[in-house]
């Protein structure tokens, strides 16, 4: 017998997006948040560098510039009306966070401090602009904490360490979800009027990644299984500065504060590729440049990494070369970037103040995900039909404001702006709707069966081995550079892994805290998402933003100025959805 709960609004995921939605929904309707982690453990807490908003606290800035940077950064695949909302609302959202208590760093006159970030420019001078609002290098941590604190203040109901396994669909209407309580293994049916999926990213399908172990894309994978589509899955961002071999992120804020890339010959190589923005070019470009350096044998000692150099005296040297009057010292860096300096010290044994830090690109952010409209309502197909009562926001969703490549800091903006819009939309909807009846006796059957199938499987394949093979293969074949042949191989390997997934070896047959089963179930999600990612990447025969095809190195606006919408119903099906272009026609992307 499953436990039964009823809420007007239900939010799955307690990251920035989920908490923001819960906060706003709970102002008028009965709201609950379900999360497989304690809310403060969500990966939003790992976000470091900042959240952008054209506050103009330090130098002149306009939200229109922010919008253009976002669109250009996204290689013109962004839906421009959504980007306008993002950048205009960003200002209020950041102020709102400050009012909620977020301890931003301050300028000497007491305003929110801002710093540079990749791809953020003054559209007139084309120079980098200080737009990223920050709280040291733990901005995401402060956002997550502040939102959780305000949810406590608002008395939002939390179901911590409950994992969603399935959503309850009736035709085109979502009536809630089924979740398993990890501490007991029992199933709970959550019946709701409006449901939001804010389950975050799925970077764990790659080996070198900045993503948490828990980021396995449960939300999007569940929708795929319920025959709903995902959007732009081929666009995945590889962040240029991951800690060598581990993938732990060293925020772009380092380069915002003046750090640069150095190759094996000691050159600041970004100068050759992007003469204006140099090291502050968008992430997709930097990652590709690093690979090119490595490919041409200019990695450090000819190996597969380069240096990120933020020794103060070197930064000052480059400031001087760039004509920037600013000068910094070690103390300044220690207060502005304390965490990432510590990461280098702890995990690499390298002190960034005295030595350059070895880095390599790391799988970081999903631009694609669950297709939504500008109110975070989930779309059922390429022509804009809605799934009633279902919402999505955050990294799990694709509005699409990030297009083919997200600009640094724009994800946190996305969370708060569209999380809030989703929360308000849910409350509006729930106020006027009534509970759609569900069959309490049977809705949880599918979830229980699928978990029990894993729990009782007596095969020979360890889930961890399958996961590892998937990750290594994805790094190689569905990474920064892709080829048609490689992607076809990737699909074959994934099919093979999916077959092996049916023959699992599971040690733990218990109910309580059975992480053996939950990890295996999550692997199932990753396999499904990897499949649609590779399939969409194979389908898109062009290079754009985070998606680079060696066999199609150019952008092809004629054919592919479109979002991909992918279904996995027995077999993969891909359709196109045109990009909404308002003010900015695509141009060549140069910095």
């Amino acid at each position: 017998m499953a436990h039964y709960h009823q809420f007007d609004a239900l939010v799955v995921g307690a990251g920035g997006a989920g908490l923001m939605a819960a906060l706003y929904a709970s102002k008028s309707v009965k709201t609950a948040v379900i999360s497989k982690l304690y809310p403060t453990r969500s990966h939003t807490g790992a976000a470091q560098g900042g959240i952008s908003a054209a506050l103009g606290n330090i130098e002149q800035d306009k939200w229109e510039w922010h919008a253009y940077d976002t669109i250009k950064g996204g290689d013109f695949l962004c839906d421009q009306d959504a980007v306008d909302i993002l950048c205009k609302d960003a200002i209020d959202a950041v102020i709102d966070l400050e009012h909620m208590g977020l301890p931003f760093d301050r300028t000497p006159d007491g305003k929110i401090s801002q710093r540079r970030f990749g791809g953020h420019t003054n559209n007139e001078t084309k120079q980098a602009v200080q737009r990223a609002c920050h709280a040291a290098d733990r901005t995401g941590h402060m956002i997550l904490q502040t939102l959780y604190q305000n949810c406590i203040k608002n008395d939002v109901k939390f179901f911590d360490e409950f994992q969603m396994i399935d959503i309850i669909m009736d035709g085109n209407k979502c009536n809630g979800i089924v979740a398993v309580e990890l501490s007991t293994g029992e199933t709970h049916v959550f019946h709701s009027k409006a449901t939001m999926l804010a389950t975050g990213g799925f970077g764990k399908m790659w080996k070198i990644t900045s993503n948490a172990h828990s980021l396995t894309g449960d939300g999007p994978a569940i929708l795929l299984r319920r025959n709903l589509p995902l959007e732009d899955m081929e666009f995945y961002q590889f962040h240029p500065t991951g800690v060598y071999r581990m993938g732990i992120l060293l925020s772009e804020a380092a380069r915002g504060e003046g750090a640069v890339f150095i190759n094996g010959k000691g050159e600041r190589f970004m100068e050759h590729y992007m003469p204006t923005l140099k090291d502050l070019a968008p992430r997709d470009i930097c990652s590709r440049c690093i690979y090119q350096e490595v490919q041409s044998g200019r990695g450090i000692d000819g190996k597969d990494f380069v240096y990120l150099d933020f020794r103060p005296e070197h930064i000052n040297k480059w400031f001087e070369a760039d004509g920037n009057p600013k000068r910094i010292d070690a103390h300044y860096l220690e207060t502005r970037l304390p965490d990432i300096i510590e990461f280098a010290r702890v995990y690499l044994g390298v002190d960034p103040i005295t030595d350059p830090v070895p880095i390599q690109p790391t799988a970081h952010y999903a631009m694609g995900g669950i297709p939504t409209n500008n109110n975070a309502q989930v779309l059922a197909d390429e022509s804009g039909n809605l799934v009633e009562g279902l919402y999505s926001a955050g990294e799990a969703a694709c509005v699409s404001v990030h297009g083919a490549n997200r600009l640094g800091t724009n994800s946190l903006v996305d969370l708060v702006v569209f999380g809030k819009r989703g929360g308000i939309a849910m409350a509006e909807y729930a106020k006027n709707a009534s509970f759609h009846p569900i069959n309490k006796e049977t809705v949880h059957q599918y979830s229980e069966d699928s978990l029990n199938a894993i729990r009782n499987s007596k095969g020979t394949e360890r889930p961890a081995a399958i996961r590892k093979e998937l990750q290594v293969m994805m790094d190689e074949k569905v990474g920064v550079y892709r080829t048609g042949a490689g992607l076809r191989q990737a699909l074959e390997i994934i099919t093979d892994l999916q077959a092996r997934f049916k023959n699992l070896k599971i040690d733990d047959r218990g109910m309580k805290w059975n992480t053996d089963v939950s990890e295996a179930w999550e692997l199932g999600c990753l396999l499904d998402l990897a499949e649609v990612t590779a399939a969409a990447a194979l389908w898109r025969e062009e290079s754009r933003g985070g998606h680079y095809r060696e066999d199609f190195p150019n952008r092809d606006d004629k054919k592919f100025l479109n979002h991909s919408i992918v279904w996995k119903n027995g077999k993969i099906e891909i359709k196109m959805k045109p990009v909404r272009i308002t003010r900015h026609q695509p141009v060549e992307r140069k910095y």
Binding site: T40, R41, G45, A46, G101, D339, V346, T515, D516
Partner: protein, 237 residues
């Protein structure tokens, strides 16, 4: 490198008492302890249960006793902890063990919630619709306590907390400090009153275990001392 891992195991579904699981692994010296635990879980015994997420010391999931002191498994490297080829892992102390490394965190979060962990400011917002102003010095004042990730390393290393689980614990005091010393907040009085209860801040016996165990290098005992000082003098400076 060879590693002998000794893990204190407990599965409520069939164990009456905790027992030691012993595992021999081949590891890289620069690996995290978390990697070693995953190696056990993923290749030797899938029943091993632990919480983890970020794997780089920012989410606060994997507090445990490593060689007898509270650490995050993802923030300790094997080469720094290994002694005579061995590392000993136990769950954090003073909380009910649910399974292996997983303890019941509910009382911990209940203490956290009890100190009103949210900004209270009922004055009207700035008329220009912008941020409240705060000087960099005022912001710096509570910087240390904003780093807390609620991992519970401190609270579960505190002898006063072991002695009495009702003691509100260093983590909750650090969180209270974060608001009491925020110049924008107005509920310092209420928080200080909550903290002046029998099981509040005066239960702290200045043992310093908390400071030694904090993975975020927060000066926990100093933070607590500042709260005590505010309570003693009535001045929040």
């Amino acid at each position: 490198m060879k590693l002998h891992l000794k893990i204190k195991r407990f599965n409520p579904e069939h164990d009456k008492k905790p027992w030691w699981g012993e595992y021999d692994l081949d590891v890289e010296p620069g690996d995290r302890i978390l990697d070693a635990l995953h190696e056990v879980k993923w290749t030797l015994d899938g029943t091993l249960a632990l919480r983890r997420s970020c794997a780089h010391g920012v989410c606060g999931s994997d507090a445990m006793r490593i060689n007898g002191r509270n650490r995050l498994a993802c923030k300790c490297l094997i080469k720094d902890e290994i002694k005579n080829g061995q590392i000993v892992i136990e769950p954090i102390l003073g909380m009910r063990v649910l399974k292996d490394m997983i303890v019941d965190m509910d009382p911990f979060f209940a203490h956290y919630r009890s100190i009103m962990p949210f900004l209270v400011n009922d004055t009207p917002l700035p008329a220009n619709g912008r941020e409240r102003l705060q000087s960099p010095e005022d912001r710096q004042r509570f910087d240390d306590s904003t780093k807390c990730i609620l991992c519970a390393c401190c609270t579960t290393s505190c002898p006063s907390f072991w002695a009495r689980g009702e003691y509100i614990g260093p983590a909750a005091i650090v969180q209270a400090h974060r608001f009491i010393f925020d110049s924008r907040d107005q509920a310092a009085q209420e928080r200080l009153e909550i903290l002046s209860d029998v099981d509040g801040v005066w239960r702290c016996r200045t043992a310093f275990n908390c400071t030694e165990s904090c993975p975020r290098d927060i000066k926990v005992t100093k933070t607590i001392g500042e709260v005590k000082e505010a309570l003693r003098t009535g001045v929040i400076a």
